[in-house]
Subunit: 210 residues, 2 copies
DNA sequence: GGCGGCTTGTGAAAACCTTCACAAGAAACC
DNA sequence: GGTTTCTTGTGAAGGTTTTCACAAGCCGCC
């Protein structure tokens, strides 16, 4: 199969997020209308979609409900995904209470922590299990994706445990580089790193750029 | 000035994060040693750095402390930045208690909310002010960067208020596209969108890719 | 049925980014 | 001093992504 770039996938997600927001209001949408609010161009939208097939109708545009279905299928969202949160601290607790996950097709089915005060309790209806039971519980509950919200120094070890337990993808909030364990997919979100992207833009704008 | 790509800036931040982790242990580092743990190549590292000058010594490598200083200067991190968090809910509260921000040069100097229960209190030594006082307080405290942690439907309006108050950059956690108000820099972190990048990889791997 | 206005799908061109490959400089050793 | 080993800095090549531009198809109207 053709190689799809990471930026193209990101844009497809953006298109989908946008389409879901207008579903019901509008039956058809043009590449132009889809492009503008997602900060893209109409040619880019058409190219992105054409990587997977022809979904539009010339002279009319794309059917909103059909395009939603198509994008969901492309992104693997025609079904729900089972997620575990590892580390129920400040950030982890926020994640357990985040409705935006289930709204977008991700069910947090269990959480893990080392803290014996937390283990055995539940938060928002989600059991907090001991990190020692990770392998067993992950298998029992069919966890497919892990979200890491532990201190950075624990992250590498937890990725290993998740990999061993058969989890196929990890999203980490720990600001540390995680080795890529093929065939597992690992991605890191680093808040400070994003802020550094902003300060770079501010600083280079203040000095001489065009 | 030459245009620097977003991915190059991201890699520079990664190099810096890595270097800070080894500062003290090692005086010199080669492009190869810097590349491997950040998932890059030595040629890429040298190219990235050469966009800004010549910082290495042939046959030896780069001086770790000097390279840290240089990267901090490039990214605008030779000084600290004043940040405001808008929306002190589950996520916002976690952010107010996040040490990773000040460790990386970002000081949360104030927070804002609409909730009258929260306004007037403080969390981790950070005052929570009324959103109605945003413009005044932002100016008084010299806020330069805003972090948005309100419900998505409030985000657009808050970006406008921040722009009016003279804030130059915004990082938003609200999963919604925010119009780009030149010269303000806006960036969005969408957790579900990152997860969708993972499900795409999982799904297309399961079907026929190479 | 034919015409004009619109919008897609897509090769080709342009822009951009990464990798290659090697000259040039630094140090260590004999 | 000469030779070997190492590593940077950088043009040029190679690859990928974005933009351009237009034929092909759809719709409504006369
Ligand atoms: N707090 C934030 O707003 C924020 C924002 C961005 C990124 N992060 C990152 O997210 C991670 C968590 O941050 P936090 O502020 O929630 O920290 P925290 O200290 O509040 O929580 C960490 C939790 O992880 C648990 N833990 C520690 N070791 C563990 C292990 N081996 N297995 C399972 N659980 C373990 C602890 O018991 C604790 O409950 C950190 O890496 C941090 O850098 C936090
Ligand atoms: N909770 C999470 O883990 C998480 C993760 C990723 C993204 N997000 C996103 O972050 C945002 C906040 O999520 P949350 O879970 O903390 O929500 P929350 O409901 O817990 O908190 C929202 C806070 O914003 C305040 N608020 C509402 N309108 C406001 C306004 N106009 N001005 C100032 N404050 C206002 C509310 O009083 C509340 O305190 C949402 O957009 C959500 O999608 C949350």
């Amino acid at each position: 199969m053709k190689k799809i770039s990471e930026s193209a996938v990101r844009r497809l997600s953006l298109y989908l997020r946008l389409l879901r927001g207008i579903a019901g209001d509008q039956e058809l949408i043009s590449s132009q209308e889809l492009a503008e609010p997602s900060g893209s161009t109409s040619a880019q939208v058409r190219k992105d979609l054409s990587l997977f097939g022809s979904f539009g109708q010339r002279g009319k545009g794309y059917s909103v409900p059909e395009l939603i279905d198509t994008l969901e299928r492309i992104l693997g969202l025609e079904r729900r995904w089972r997620v575990a949160v590892v580390g129920v601290g400040k950030l982890g607790s926020a994640l357990l209470g985040y409705r935006g996950l289930s709204e977008r097709g991700f069910d947090v089915v269990v959480a893990f922590d080392v803290d014996t005060e937390k283990v055995g309790t539940e938060l928002n209806g989600i059991d907090i299990c001991s990190i020692d039971s990770l392998s067993r519980v992950v298998r029992e509950r069919g966890v497919e994706i892990g979200i890491i919200a532990t201190p950075p120094e624990e992250a590498e070890g937890i990725v290993s445990r998740l990999a061993d337990a058969g989890v196929s993808a990890v999203l980490s909030f720990a600001p540390i580089e995680l080795g890529n364990r093929d065939p597992m997919v690992v991605r890191t979100m680093d808040l400070a790193l994003e802020l550094e992207g902003l300060t770079f833009a501010l600083t280079s704008a203040r000095n001489g750029d065009s």
